[in-house]
């Protein structure tokens, strides 16, 4: 008998009770190959991501308040990013950048994080292939094969990556991070794979101005695709031709 089928069928009842209580385990198998999800649009747990989807973000800087760091705190909480008080070596997956045009005095504030490029330079330069782009456009570090050479940090135009400078403890189960490897915004890939949205987007919508819109750029019916089609938006350092998945409105 197929070992997989056997595993699933014989342990169903026991495991369902057990696992249903554990946060982060959204999928509950009810029979071999059949899985129920709490999120309607999610892909099946056993299914690979495809390039039919291109996850992206649209940030409306007009709604982003100067001094508000709700997105940053949400990210830190979600991914277990702490501070040691050594700002120069502490990782930052998302940060707020204040812009001021010296010629006009115009001021803008916006969140900056991994821009999830379609042509990511970090992926190009990574010697081991640890930096990679998922089929759905999310740029990640496979920490299992990252040797910590930091070439990706040299190559990233957005200063989006951080190196873990010291040993970590009590990491979040869904966000493994460790000393000697490079990390950056994962677009909360663990949430996306369950049909959720990134923590920063959620926090911005719930607690702040709702400046961040997340969605599938490839789906013409999605809110984000409609918005980028209707309103002018721009990619940071578009001159490099990297086609980032994060777009900005109002700058």
């Amino acid at each position: 008998m197929n070992i997989d089928t056997e595993n699933r069928e014989s342990t169903n009842t026991a495991r369902r009770n057990f696992l249903a209580g554990i946060a982060g385990m959204a999928g509950v198998s009810i029979a071999s190959g059949v899985t129920l999800f709490s999120f309607a649009e999610a892909k099946e747990a056993g299914e690979a991501v495809t390039s039919k989807v291109r996850w992206g973000m649209l940030i409306d800087t007009n709604k982003c308040e100067d001094g508000c760091t709700k997105c940053v705190s949400a990210c830190n909480k979600e991914n277990g990013i702490g501070t040691t008080g050594r700002a120069e070596t502490d990782p930052q997956w998302i940060r707020k950048v204040q812009l001021r045009d010296p010629k006009t005095g115009n001021q803008t504030s916006l969140p900056m994080m991994c821009q999830h490029c379609a042509e990511p330079p970090c992926v190009d330069v990574c010697p081991t292939g640890a930096s990679f782009k998922r089929a759905d456009g999310i740029v990640l570090v496979d920490k299992h094969s990252c040797i910590g050479c930091r070439y990706c940090m040299m190559a990233c135009p957005y200063k989006a990556r951080s190196f873990v400078h010291e040993a970590l403890e009590d990491q979040k189960s869904h966000a493994p991070r460790g000393k000697g490897t490079v990390e950056s915004c994962t677009l909360c890939v663990h949430r996306i794979d369950k049909g959720g949205i990134p923590a920063c987007v959620e926090a911005c919508a719930d607690e702040a101005g709702g400046a961040m819109l997340f969605g599938d750029l490839n789906d013409p019916k999605s809110e984000i695709a409609k918005r980028v089609a209707k309103y002018a938006s721009r990619q940071i350092r578009a001159d490099l031709g990297l086609n980032p998945g994060v777009r900005y409105q109002g700058i």
Partner: protein, 407 residues
């Protein structure tokens, strides 16, 4: 054709006490460096001066310097076998040994600075062929193999006839290797101070210059230590060549900065390196340009100075110091200038956007870098003791093919 005196090579035979003391001392330095690397790895890189802004620091300065110099050290052999200059032929073996030694030292530093040096096997087994780093892994291992074979062809009498052919392969390979090293920076599209094709030829010129400077000093020290004659003819030839190489580096440095100065987009970074960069600006003008380029040029082209050993060795030492400074300015200076995400805007953030990044190297990372030099020295010392790398005499009569020809 002039029947040149046959060159006889011998292992170093000098005072064993002195020799083993030198080897022991160098070994101790290498061990201390290993301890420094262990300290960095167990504590994490926060004990170094490197951070999320200056991601490559002192270890990379030493490593890149040694790797660049490695390919340059091979040049002396190439001049003999590829360009057929007989005067250089007796030096070819030492040139090959020095090339391998410097590369080993440089790579040791590079590898020990990794965040996860325990995963070196991953770097050896998983490749992303779009990465210049991945190419370099091949270029470096290939260099070891080719120079190894080259040395074999030279050391083994029956194989001598193939040495020229292998020498050509080695020469082409070393050009590729330095191109690869320069391209590590040249291909960084996002950084203001990199992203320039000139880095490849610049690094090749640098390798010629640094490698030859190191070669001259090693040759002088080894000859002195083993009481082997070293004539003015060969030293004078090497010195003149060094002068040409130093001028070549200066030329490419001028091209590099003039190109940037022409484009308004790059005025910010040029102003930082050339005028307002504080320590970086000081290192550039005083270390790289005045001490590392002008002074050696004056010495090496001055009709009296370039005949005096002390001046020539001083010039070679200055070229090495200037070279280290130049690589520091390239690596650290290049990162210290912030990325420009929003041209024309003033930027501020909690992650040091828009500010000049500071870097204060810590002792362990400097010790690790020095350890790379120690490893290179060890390889040279042991190699010369067990195999026949150095001719018994490089006196004018032995080294100059025309010396014995009657007037």
């Amino acid at each position: 054709m002039a029947t040149a005196t046959k060159t006889i090579y011998r292992e170093l035979k000098n005072d064993p006490l002195k020799y083993y003391l030198a080897v022991g001392l160098t070994g101790l330095i290498a061990l201390i460096a290993a301890a420094a690397a262990y300290y960095m790895e167990t504590n994490g890189h926060h004990v170094t001066g490197m951070n999320n802004q200056i991601v490559w620091g002192m270890p990379h300065v030493f490593a890149v310097f040694l790797i660049v110099a490695a390919s340059g050290a091979l040049n002396v052999a190439s001049i003999g076998s590829v360009f057929g200059k007989t005067a250089y032929k007796p030096l070819a073996r030492l040139s090959g040994l020095l090339a391998i030694a410097l590369l080993a030292g440089g790579l040791a530093v590079l590898v020990l600075d990794l965040g996860r040096p325990d995963r070196l096997i991953v770097a050896m087994t998983k490749y992303n062929f779009k990465s210049i780093f991945a190419w370099n892994i091949y270029l470096y291992t290939g260099f070891f193999a080719i120079v190894g074979v080259y040395l074999w062809m030279m050391l083994e009498k029956r194989m001598n006839r193939y040495s020229s052919a292998v020498g050509v392969v080695a020469f082409v390979w070393r050009l590729a290797l330095t191109t690869g090293t320069g391209s590590i920076f040249g291909f960084l599209v996002a950084r203001q101070s990199y992203d320039a094709a000139v880095f490849a030829p610049l690094f090749i010129a640098m390798s010629f210059s640094f490698g030859l400077a190191i070669f001259i000093l090693v040759l002088a020290i080894a000859s002195r230590a083993d009481d082997r004659p070293l004539g003015d003819f060969i030293v004078g030839k090497l010195a003149k060549l060094l002068g040409v190489f130093v001028a070549a580096v200066l030329y490419f440095v001028i091209v590099q900065h003039l190109t940037n100065l022409y484009a308004t987009e790059h005025h910010g970074v040029e102003r930082f390196i050339l005028l307002e960069g504080g320590i970086i600006t000081g290192l550039f003008w005083v270390g790289q340009i005045i001490l590392g380029s002008f002074v050696p040029l004056v010495i090496l082209f001055h009709p009296a100075f370039n005949k005096t050993r002390a001046y020539i060795y001083a010039a070679a030492s200055l070229v090495i110091l200037g070279g280290m400074t130049q690589i520091y300015v390239i690596i650290v200076g290049g990162q210290a200038y912030p990325l420009v995400l929003f041209p024309g805007m003033e930027v501020k953030s909690s992650f040091f956007d828009g500010v000049i990044h500071s870097y204060a190297p810590s002792l362990p990372e400097i010790v690790l870098g020095i350890g790379g030099i120690a490893v290179a020295c060890l390889v040279v010392m042991i190699g010369m003791r067990v195999l026949r790398f150095l001719p018994t005499s490089l006196a004018d009569g032995a080294a100059d093919p025309h010396h014995n020809i009657a007037p």
